[in-house]
């Protein structure tokens, strides 16, 4: 339960950070997470997952409240000439990679093992 809460809080931190400061919050919070939690088990993967989850939630909330996200995804993917599913994958993979990389590096700087999990 504590682990879940920590994960949720981390996702909230990524979400609030993105909301307030844009995408640069992701590497910043990821690195901070690695620095303060260097010995955490799978800390970097958890950071990546939290970042991806936070971005997913930031998209889902307006979609649920009426923004035409689903229709627009198809248009946007069409504009970028990729399938819609690929756009969604990239949308989640990007924050994951940034957060994982930053957390891994942060943990490594502190010398912890939290960076030990592959993405």
């Amino acid at each position: 339960m504590r682990a879940f809460l920590r994960q949720a809080l981390l996702a909230v931190a990524f979400g609030l950070g993105t909301y307030a400061f844009g995408w640069w919050a992701v590497p910043s919070i990821g690195a901070l997470w690695g620095l303060i939690n260097p010995a955490g088990r799978h800390a970097a993967v958890r950071a990546g997952m939290a970042a991806a989850a936070s971005w997913a939630i930031l998209l889902l909330v307006p979609a649920i409240t009426g923004a035409p996200l689903a229709a627009f995804t198809a248009h946007l993917a069409g504009a970028m000439q990729v399938p819609a599913w690929a756009l969604v994958v990239v949308e989640l993979a990007f924050p994951f990679a940034v957060a994982w990389g930053a957390a891994t590096l942060g943990a490594a700087v502190r010398g912890g093992k939290g960076a030990g999990s592959a993405p």
């Binding site: 844009g22 307006p62 923004a67 035409p68 000439q81 990007f94 924050p95 940034v98 590096l105 490594a108």
Partner: protein, 828 residues
């Protein structure tokens, strides 16, 4: 220790790569971070897809509050207490809906696209600057009266755009900025002039000197001049000639003559000199339009009626933005503007309505110049004296401000100087000369009579020359081809290349307005223009342009419809705009039937099968007919088979005469032009070639689209319409739309093209002006908005929406009000 280093390295590599992609992008990819950011990135377009029901915005420069009411079609009705406030609000609402379009068009019009997309746009930007367009905009701006209303309106409009831009957060930037990785720019008043210049460039017609010369190069002067005449052989001019019918000035075409090798050389030169946007246009007639007006005596309700549908490239967002400006007691005008122009371009006010079609006038000439240095000239010779060339350095910058290229563009007193094939050629073009279009539109919007409107336009609307039609509530209908038309040296036309070494080659001024093609309340009771020749050359010949600028078919269609209906209703006007009937097809079809009959053959032969299909076809380009596809293919092949004399020694077709000339030739069944040069010992006649075209067209369609019974020949499967996003992004475009109409019909929708009626307007000038309209797109430029392309189904179906034209904000029904925006003066 080692694994720690490996982990650190792995993290660093992944992070570096992700940050690189996020911050800088890679190759064609824009920076992914700001693009994918779920709050501020591309997705924000969806979260800002609709207007807030109520908004209040403080704005500097306002003298009073401005009430903007958006109706349910997304049209902002602007209610202000001063005109400058109204135009300031116009800038704001246009930016709110179409910011990226404003910015993109301005970058294109000022030759600065490289600042967004780098070297990819260098050729386009060079073309714009080599033509002298940015310089001309600067000169027009510098020449403006800074105390005049046009100047103040431009500045107020800019203030409105910038009030919106300055308040934007990155999340609110239109999605295209994020896809390109660029940011919005503040608006400069000169941008409005750049845009007008761009529109002038789009609509400028250059006579096909190169085509005629190239034809001379293979069939000689006499034949070439007959195939590419100055005047259309089919006359039903804009200025009524009193004949109440089209006139066919058909003449025997001279035989192909001996090649004129000197003409061939000049044609090559001219093709090189002419900017690609002009002479390399495959079919200048694709830019066309219709407008017509019916006087009270011929309308069902006894009021004047007016219709307009300008035919342009169809884009998303549309070229047009619909709005109303109301200043009590001063201004009440409704219509469409081009985003970035501070005024209503086409529309109506409480007293009159107006519309444009392109005149197609020849307003651009070339001069072969004598210069002091063949590689780096600094002077040019006129009347035996050397004059200095004006030199302007053009610097092209990339997205990061880096210099991509630096050019020197030289100018004579005539215009920009270009160097091709060892020759220096300058260009004079009305677009590059002083003009006052913004002031003209401003003044015209206040006019209360048709004559006052046309006179206001004539005072300053010089380019692009337009056939301006107007109808007012008193019942007056009028049309005038308005623009600057050059007075050339006696005995010359614009199809010549002039000797630049003498001032005798120069224009001596412009036509007086009294000489413009025009008509007020003609006896026939209606007026119509569809890009046909403005004046009947038998009545008054003065060179305005040449035949290839003028398309007679739609003019024949609309005049025929208007002649036949002495009690025209608003709904008739709408039906005329979308009429699929083709007079062109009706004129040509009998020749296919005759040819098939004369050559004979079994009923199962392609020619007889094809003839049977065309016999069933009524010449209407409806969606479900299967004759139009066959007819168009047969016409294409008829041109290909007939004009083989115009192939050069390498087999390349140097020029193809227009269908009016083909129609002329059809009346000469044994003309030498029918002979197929590839056959020896036999001389083909008209019927042989026409039947051959028909049979080949049938075979082509069977091969491409299957047997005719299979449904593959249906017009809506063959001739779809594409409405393309300004950046060409397929996901933001509407592609493959099924439509009626075709080449030469009033509702032109040539297959597979992105061209057609960009707006349709019908106005009833009764005691209370009423109007109906639509355009293929929507008011919003945001692809996520429900009003991005919501009007397309209506446009495809040929329907119009009634326009709300309230006198004040309270008159707009609450159930037709989608959103309100209140702009209030910002305190000091």
């Amino acid at each position: 220790m080692t694994s720690r280093i490996v982990r650190a390295l792995a993290g660093a590599v992944v992070l570096a790569a992700a940050l690189r992609l996020g911050a800088r992008g890679a190759g064609p990819l824009p920076p992914l971070g700001p693009l994918l950011d779920p709050v501020h990135g591309a997705w924000a377009a969806a979260t800002h897809a609709t207007l807030a029901p109520r908004a209040a915005v403080p704005m500097s420069g306002l003298s009073g509050a401005v009430d903007v009411r958006y109706d349910t079609r997304g049209v902002p009705h602007i209610f202000a207490t001063t005109e400058l406030d109204a135009y300031r609000a116009l800038g704001y609402v246009v930016a709110r809906d179409r910011l990226f379009q404003l910015d993109l068009q301005t970058h294109a019009a000022s030759g600065r696209l490289t600042e967004w997309v780098g070297r990819r746009a260098l050729a386009l930007d060079r073309q714009t600057r080599d033509l002298g367009m940015p310089r001309a905009a600067e000169e027009k701006m510098a020449a403006m009266d800074t105390t005049g209303m046009a100047w103040r309106v431009m500045n107020a409009f800019a203030g409105g755009v910038n009030a919106y831009v300055d308040a934007l957060t990155p999340a609110q930037w239109p999605v295209e900025y994020k896809l390109l990785g660029v940011r919005p720019e503040r608006w400069k008043p000169i941008n409005s002039i750049h845009l007008f210049n761009r529109m002038g460039w789009t609509l400028t017609y250059v006579p096909d000197e190169a085509v005629r010369l190239a034809a001379r190069g293979v069939v000689g002067d006499s034949a070439a001049d007959a195939l590419f005449p100055l005047n259309s052989p089919i006359q039903e001019p804009i200025q009524p000639n009193g004949q109440h019918a089209p006139r066919f000035d058909l003449a025997t075409l001279p035989r192909p003559g001996a090649p004129d090798t000197a003409a061939r050389v000049v044609a090559s030169l001219l093709r090189e000199v002419a900017p690609p946007g002009f002479m390399q246009r495959t079919d200048p007639r694709h830019l066309a339009s219709n407008n017509w007006a019916v006087g009270p005596a011929r309308s069902a309700d006894g009021h004047a009626l007016l219709a307009n549908d300008p035919h342009l490239d169809l884009t998303l967002p549309s070229i047009w933005y619909e709005t109303q400006l109301v200043v009590p007691g001063t201004l009440d005008v409704y219509g469409v503007t081009i985003p970035g122009l501070p005024g209503i371009v086409l529309g109506f006010n409480r007293d009159l309505a107006w519309g444009f079609t392109n005149t197609g006038a020849d307003v651009l000439d070339f001069y072969r110049e004598t210069v002091d240095d063949a590689t780096h000239p600094t002077r040019y010779e006129v009347d035996g004296a050397w004059r200095p060339l004006v030199q302007r350095v053009e610097v092209y910058r990339g997205p990061r401000g880096e210099v991509l290229a630096t050019d020197t563009v030289r100018y004579t007193h005539r215009g920009p100087l270009m160097h091709r094939f060892g020759a220096w050629v300058s260009m004079r073009w009305t677009l590059l000369e002083p003009s006052h279009e913004i002031g003209a539109l401003y003044d015209a919007a206040h006019a209360t009579t048709a004559r006052a409107f046309l006179d206001a336009m004539a005072q300053g609307f010089f380019v692009p020359a337009q056939n301006v039609i107007v109808a007012d509530r008193s019942g007056t209908i009028a049309i005038r081809s308005t623009g600057h038309f050059p007075l050339r040296p006696k005995g010359t036309t614009g199809i010549d290349i002039f000797d630049g070494s003498t001032s005798a080659s120069d224009w001596t001024g412009y036509w007086p307005v009294s000489d413009y093609p025009q008509s007020f309340n003609p006896a026939q009771g209606y007026l119509a223009s569809a890009n046909q020749q403005p004046e009947d050359p038998r009545h008054q010949f003065a060179y305005l342009g040449d035949d290839r600028a003028y398309d007679p078919w739609r003019a024949l269609d609309i005049n025929s419809l208007l002649r036949a209906d002495s009690s025209v209703t608003v709904d008739d006007m709408r039906h005329f705009q979308t009429s699929p009937l083709s007079v062109r097809a009706q004129l040509f079809l009998p020749y296919f039937a005759t040819a098939a009959h004369n050559v004979g053959g079994p009923a199962s032969s392609p020619v007889q099968q094809a003839a049977e299909i065309l016999a069933r076809w009524d010449g209407r380009y409806t969606r479900d007919n299967d004759g139009a596809a066959l007819f168009e293919e047969a016409m294409r092949l008829l041109r290909a088979f007939t004009w083989d004399e115009l192939d050069d020694s390498s087999g390349r077709r140097v020029a193809t005469p227009d269908d009016e000339i083909m129609f002329d030739l059809l009346h000469q069944p044994t003309s030498a032009w029918w002979d197929d040069r590839s056959t020896s010992g036999v001389v083909e006649t008209r019927d042989v070639i026409v039947a051959r075209s028909l049979a080949a067209a049938y075979d082509t369609l069977v091969k491409r689209d299957g047997p005719p019974a299979g449904g593959g020949w249906r017009w809506d499967r063959v001739a779809t319409v594409d409405i393309t996003h300004l950046l060409g992004l397929p996901g933001f475009s509407a592609l493959g739309l099924e439509s009626a109409g075709g080449r030469g019909t009033l509702n032109p929708a040539p297959g597979g093209s992105g061209f057609g009626p960009s707006w349709r307007l019908v106005v009833d000038l009764g005691p209370e002006v009423r109007a109906w309209d639509t355009y293929p797109g929507g008011q919003s430029g945001n692809p996520a908005s429900p009003q991005y392309e919501d009007r397309i189904p209506q446009w495809l179906a040929g329907r119009l929406s009634p326009v709300l034209f309230p006198r004040d904000a309270a008159a707009l029904p609450a159930n037709r009000t989608e959103a309100t925006l209140t702009l209030t003066p910002r305190g000091p």
